[in-house]
Amino acid sequence: MAVEGAVASRSGLRSALPLLAPAYLWLTVAIFLPLSAMVFFSFMTDLPLSGKPWAFTLGNYAAFFSQSLYLTLLLASLRLGLEVTLWCVVIGYPAAYVLAKVLKGRSREAIFLLVILPFWSNGLVRIFSWAMVLREGGILDTALNAVLPFKINIDLMYSYPAVIIGLVHSYVPYMVLTCYLTLQAIDDSLIEAGRSLGASRLQVLKRVIIPLSMPGLVAGAALIFVPVVGSFMEPRILGGRTGTFYGTVIEDQFVAVFNWPLGAALSFILLAVVLVILAIASPVLRRAA
């Protein structure tokens, strides 16, 4: 029996190989190799371009610890990730709930389309349209002053709130989608059962629906938190001078300063920190789920 099983699974693996190969080949070429090169770079004194001399060093990693600026920026980025994730939960979860449990048929399709629309638009276009909305004399400023009887100046451009707004707008669809999927899988009769036992809608939400949709919340949070911590486009365009974060510093190393080894080292430190955070958070979140 056991032998037969092993043979069966081996032949199963062989027949599955042609199906798995393209994905793994792609991952190897597109992610693993460049990433290995980056690991290599992060231990070099300089890029081996045009015959410049170089040597191995730990200096790039040491730089992170010797200058408090990097740690400050990393903490700011983590805070940014946390805040954006929280806003995405606050905005995305109720939307997902309404989509999954309240709306039916055509209206659900229409609202769903509106939610995933940001996915279909170019990221840069999205950010520059926010710039037009948020700047002084922009759309928001003009609209509010047209309605309000007194004069106010709304200039959110180049500020921390602008960065948050842009990032939340970009990432909220992830939260809506992951939560929608888990919420839709929750049987409506569970809600009815809860209420028949005397629980208010809020109590049912707290004790039944949120615990059952925890996997969606966790998946959404992970999908949002990780890229936001490393984000640079939104902070740079919408944040201006206040938009200096860990991600923008890494980008500078690659694009402006041309110090790839430092940029690579900073990236791997970020990766390590994020992995540690997810590792610490996952048992807690799994228990909650």
Partner: protein, 355 residues
């Protein structure tokens, strides 16, 4: 504990009348079955009583208190759902504790009540399990324990045994009845299974197209159905259609059938007679006629189905197929194609106004 009164309740969904002026009085402590085909409105009625949906018109009261605009969570009802609806994120004990815990009862009180409820449904040792670790019958019991632990005024069951296999269903019928007797709670039970309705309930309400067709004790509905629908939906019946003679009907071919039970109808009106298959005696010769077998028809056996303890004969007679059920008493069985005489008493014949 309390009785439930439903008075003139109507509910429409768009153009569809799900409930059409339904009135039923569910007495305190009784076990009621709402029986009907799918789409008859039985589940809609149960949901109105539960408070998941409100009637367009009419009144619903529980224990004399008018509740038709009171939301579910304030009605103090217990409900068991068709798919059990156990909370998958909680243990069995936490499921049962839910109703008490949202009410804010003390932990010690909750633990004691939960244990008592689980003992009542004979699952006292399984409190620590998760719902997915239980069998269908066990989930059913947990759902029941969860519904009654809050001491609701009325227990509502929505086809609770529908998902169980036949043997388990019979066990659960007996079990459910025992528990209901033990706590004496008014119970309303939706089913499309006529046998379940007959064996379990004190009273049955038959619904069709949103209307209450007939309501009463199972024996009364079975022995004295008021419509062809009630006669054929609850149990099996042979229906004869003809003109009323006042105490029976005359078939189109002139044969008279005497009816000793049922509606009083003026002679000449269109009417039907219903006869239960087990009330008809089947024989190869006529025998003597007397008051207990005054109705007689001749026919030919077209088919016999042997079911062990009884046999069902299908008898062709003037273009109509009649059903006769004969207990297996060891007597000779009749062959297909045999000419037979059917006899039954007027007392077994129910006169029904044409619908």
């Amino acid at each position: 504990m309390a009785g439930v009164q439903v008075s003139n309740v109507s509910r429409s969904f768009g153009a569809h009348k799900a409930l059409d002026n339904v009135s039923i009085d569910f007495a305190d402590g009784g076990f009621y079955a709402l029986l009907g085909p799918s789409g008859s409105g039985k589940t809609t009625l149960l949901r109105q009583i539960a408070g998941f949906d409100f009637p367009d018109s009419g009144r619903i009261s529980i224990g004399g208190e008018s509740v038709e605009r009171v939301p579910v969570e304030k009605r103090r009802i217990g409900m068991v759902f068709q798919n059990y609806a156990l909370f998958p994120n909680m243990s069995v004990a936490d499921n049962v504790a839910f109703g008490l815990s949202v009410r804010g009862e003390a932990k010690a009180v909750i633990a004691a009540e939960v244990q008592r409820a689980l003992d009542l449904v004979q699952l006292g040792k399984l409190g620590g399990r998760r719902p997915h670790q239980l069998s269908g019958g066990q989930r059913q019991r947990v759902a029941l324990a969860r519904a009654i632990v809050t001491k609701p005024r009325v227990l509502l069951l929505d086809e609770p045994l529908g998902a169980l296999d036949k043997a388990l269903r019979v066990d659960m019928q007996i079990e459910l009845k025992r528990i209901q007797r033990e706590i004496g709670i008014t119970t309303i039970f939706v089913t499309h299974d006529q046998e379940e309705a007959l064996t379990m309930s004190d009273r049955i309400g038959i619904l069709r197209d949103g209307r209450l067709v007939q309501e009463g004790p199972p024996e009364e509905i079975y022995d004295r159905p008021k419509s062809e629908f009630a006669a054929t939906f609850l149990g099996d019946a042979n229906i004869f259609r003809g003109d009323s003679t006042g105490n029976g009907i005359r078939l189109p071919d002139g044969t008279a059938i005497a009816a000793g039970v049922g509606a009083a109808l003026a002679a000449g009106a269109k009417a039907s007679c219903a006869v239960r298959p087990e009330r008809i005696r089947i024989a190869t010769d006529g025998g003597a006629s007397d008051a207990t077998n005054a109705n007689m028809l001749k026919g030919q056996v077209s088919k016999r189905i042997f079911a062990g303890n009884n046999s069902t004969y299908f008898v062709e007679r003037a273009g109509q197929t009649l059903k006769v059920i004969v207990q297996n008493t060891g007597a000779d069985r009749l062959a297909e194609g045999q000419n037979v005489v059917l006899r039954w008493s007027p007392e077994s014949t129910v006169l029904i106004a044409a619908s």
